[in-house]
C-alpha cells in the first residue's frame, strides 16, 4: 500500500484498502475557521446535537477576516467564540494568539504523521507535508464530524511526483509546484492523491514541503502528501506531546502514474490570470506592470519566504506607485521575522505590514483590488474576483518574484534584479 492507503486503512480499522473503495474513517483532528465555522455550528445545532464528539480533537482558528472588518464579520467571530466556550474547545486560537490556520495547525502541534485530519478549508491538504492525510471538507460535513467523529472517504488513486535536481538561486518550491500545476492542469488530479517524492523533496525544508502540499488542491487533488523524513520528525517532536506513528509507502506500492520533474534548469514560474494552471516560465511573460504585490497566505507567508523577500528588498525601495503588502502567516513567524530584522527591512523598503490573516488572498479584507488593477501575489488562487474586483488581474509567483516585481514595478525575474 502507499502512504495514503495505509492511513485510510488504519483510520477505518481495516487491514487493507484499495482505490475506489469507500470507507468510513475516524477523524483524528478537525479544524474550522471564522468563515466556514459559523455554518458548521449552525448545521451542528440543526442536526440536534448538544455536545461535540471529542472537544480535544477540534481546533478552531480565527484567521480569514481578522480583526473584524465589519459588523457582519464581528458577528461571525462572536458565534465561533461562543461555540468554543460552550463546547470547551481548548484549542481555540483567537486574534493575537495564532495566525493563518494552515500555518498554525502544525506550529501548535496539531498535525502529526500518520493522522487523518479534516478542515473546513480547501487548503487543509497542506498538512500532507508532515505525512498526514489531510483534506478539505464543507461546513455541514464538518458538523457531521463534530457529531459522529467519522466521515466517508473514497480511497483515491495516487499520482507520484518524483523530483530531482537542485534549485537555482531565487528559484523556490513555489516555482516547482506552479510548474507541476501547469503540467497536470486544474482538473488533472481530480479525486486523486499526490505524493511528492525523490531526493529534492528529501532535502527540502518544512516550509518548502508545505508549499507543495498546499497547492495540491489547485489540480483537483484530494490531498498532497510527503512521507515523513528526519526533518519532519524533528519539527513535529518539538511541538507535540502526543504519540504518533509515522507511515511510509511500501516499495511495491501502486500508483496511477509517476511524473518525473528535474528542477536543475527550472526558472521562476508565473501563473497568469484567471486560472492557476495558466503557468509560464517568467522569461515568456510579457512586460506586465503591477499596482500591488502581496507576500503572505497559507502558501507563502512563512519565515523562509520572508527571509527570501527581505534579501531582495534589503537596501532597495518599493517602486513609487506600487503597494507591497506583507502578512506574516502567524504570530510566531511575525515575531521571528522581527527578531531577524526582516520586518525593519520591509518597512524601510516601503512595504506595509499586515497582521497574520488570510484577508488579502481571498479578497476578504485588506488591499482589495480595483477594476483594471494588477497584483502579483505569493498566494494560491488567481480566479476572477479572487482578490477584489472581477475586472482585476492576479498573477501568482514565488515571494522572491513578488519582491523583485515590487521593486521594479513590473513582473521581474528575481535572478535578474540589479545590484542594490
Amino acid at each position: 500500500m502507499n502512504i495514503i492507503e495505509k492511513i485510510l486503512a488504519r483510520a477505518s480499522g481495516k487491514e487493507e484498502v484499495s482505490p475506489g473503495e469507500i470507507v468510513e474513517a475516524s477523524i483524528d483532528v478537525a479544524m474550522i475557521h471564522d468563515l466556514t465555522g459559523p455554518l458548521a455550528i449552525e448545521s451542528f445545532r440543526k442536526i440536534g446535537a448538544k455536545k461535540v464528539w471529542d472537544n480535544q480533537r477540534i481546533v478552531i482558528i480565527l484567521d480569514h477576516i481578522v480583526p473584524a472588518s465589519s459588523v457582519k464579520s464581528a458577528e461571525l467571530h462572536k458565534v465561533v467564540r461562543n461555540f468554543a466556550e460552550e463546547q470547551k474547545i481548548d484549542n481555540f486560537y483567537d486574534i493575537g494568539q495564532g495566525g493563518v490556520c494552515h500555518q498554525l495547525m502544525p506550529e501548535k502541534g496539531h498535525v502529526r504523521p500518520g493522522e487523518l485530519i479534516v478542515g473546513a478549508d480547501s487548503h487543509t491538504c497542506t498538512y500532507g507535508a508532515f505525512g498526514a492525510f489531510a483534506t478539505g471538507i464543507g461546513s455541514t460535513e464538518m458538523a457531521a464530524v463534530f457529531v459522529t467523529g467519522t466521515l466517508w472517504f473514497k480511497v483515491p488513486e495516487v499520482i507520484k511526483i518524483n523530483v530531482t535536481g537542485r534549485f537555482q538561486n531565487f528559484v523556490t518550491p513555489k516555482d516547482l509546484i506552479l510548474n507541476i500545476i501547469g503540467q497536470i492542469k486544474a482538473d488533472g488530479a481530480i479525486y486523486n492523491g499526490l505524493e511528492f517524492a525523490g531526493p529534492t523533496i528529501g532535502n527540502m525544508s518544512i516550509d518548502g514541503r508545505m508549499v507543495l502540499c498546499n497547492m495540491a488542491v489547485e489540480m483537483g487533488a484530494k490531498t498532497g502528501i510527503i512521507e515523513p523524513h528526519q526533518t519532519t520528525l524533528n519539527y513535529v517532536k518539538n511541538r507535540t506531546t502526543k504519540p504518533f506513528k509515522p507511515v511510509k509507502s511500501d516499495p511495491d506500492a501502486t500508483y496511477k502514474k509517476v511524473l518525473d520533474v528535474d528542477v536543475t534548469d527550472l526558472e521562476p514560474q508565473v501563473s497568469c490570470p484567471h486560472s492557476v494552471d495558466n503557468v509560464k516560465p517568467i522569461s515568456e511573460v510579457d512586460e506586465v506592470g503591477v499596482d500591488q504585490a502581496f507576500i503572505g497566505s497559507c502558501t507563502n507567508g512563512r519565515l523562509e519566504d520572508l527571509r527570501l523577500a527581505a534579501k531582495l528588498l534589503e537596501g532597495r525601495k518599493v517602486r513609487n506607485g506600487v503597494r507591497l503588502l506583507v502578512a506574516p502567516a502567524s504570530q510566531e513567524v511575525y515575531l521571528e521575522a522581527l527578531k531577524e530584522g526582516l520586518i525593519k527591512t520591509f518597512l524601510e523598503a516601503g512595504a506595509i505590514l499586515c497582521n497574520p490573516t488570510c484577508g488579502p488572498c481571498l479578497g476578504g479584507h485588506l488591499g482589495l483590488l480595483a477594476p483594471g488593477e494588477t497584483c502579483i501575489s505569493s498566494s494560491n488562487r488567481n480566479f476572477a474576483g479572487r482578490m477584489g474586483s472581477p475586472e482585476a488581474y492576479v498573477y501568482l509567483a514565488s515571494p522572491a518574484t513578488v519582491a523583485a516585481s515590487a521593486v521594479t514595478g513590473k513582473i521581474t525575474d528575481p535572478r535578474l534584479l540589479k545590484e542594490a
Partner: protein, 165 residues
C-alpha cells in the same frame, strides 16, 4: 427523483470564487447569498435562472475553495441540478450535503445547448435531452448518497439516523 428544466450552460473550471465571491462569505442568509450567485462570471445569471434550472457545465465544476456557500447560493437561486463532465470533489460533496443533486455525465457539455429542455432521472442516472431527442447515461450515484439526497440533505439525513439509533 425526476428533475425537469431548461439548461444553462457554462464551460470548464467554473470556480467557487465566481460562483460566490469571497466578499459575500460574511452573509449568513441563503437568500442573500443567492442574490450574488455567479456574480463573478455571468451578470445575467439571475435573469436566466427564471426560465432554466439545470446547470450544464464542462470539466472540474466548483473547483477552488471549500465554501459550502457556493452550492447553497446555487440552490437558493433556483438551480435544481448540476450536470457536468466532472466536479471538484469538495464542491461535489457539499452539493450532496445541502441537497443539491449533482451528476457526472460524460458528453453532456457537447450534447446539450443553452435552453434545451432536460429531464433527469436521478436514481437511474439518465439525462434526457427532449429538445434533441437524446438520452445520456450519467454516472449513477451510490445508494448511500441517494439516501442523503432523498432525505433532503445531510442534516435531515443525520436527524433521522440519530433518532433511529
Amino acid at each position: 427523483m425526476t428533475i425537469c428544466g431548461k439548461a444553462i450552460k457554462f464551460g470548464d473550471n467554473v470556480d467557487t470564487d465566481v460562483i460566490l465571491p469571497g466578499q459575500y462569505l460574511v452573509l449568513t442568509d441563503p437568500m442573500e447569498l443567492a442574490k450574488h450567485t455567479m456574480e463573478g462570471l455571468d451578470h445575467a445569471f439571475l435573469r436566466k435562472i427564471q426560465d432554466g434550472a439545470i446547470i450544464v457545465a464542462g470539466k472540474n465544476f466548483g473547483c477552488g475553495s471549500s465554501r459550502e456557500q457556493a452550492p447553497l447560493a446555487l440552490k437558493h437561486a433556483g438551480v435544481k441540478c448540476v450536470l457536468a463532465e466532472s466536479f471538484a470533489r469538495i464542491f461535489y460533496r457539499n452539493a450532496i450535503t445541502i441537497g443539491l443533486p449533482v451528476l457526472e455525465c460524460l458528453g453532456v457539455s457537447s450534447k446539450v445547448k443553452e435552453g434545451d429542455e432536460l429531464t433527469v432521472d436521478l436514481g437511474a442516472g439518465k439525462v434526457e435531452n427532449k429538445s434533441k431527442n437524446l438520452v445520456l447515461q450519467a454516472t449513477r450515484l451510490p445508494e448511500f448518497i441517494m439516501e442523503i439526497l432523498d432525505d433532503g440533505g445531510l442534516i435531515e439525513h443525520l436527524r433521522r439516523r440519530i433518532r433511529w439509533e
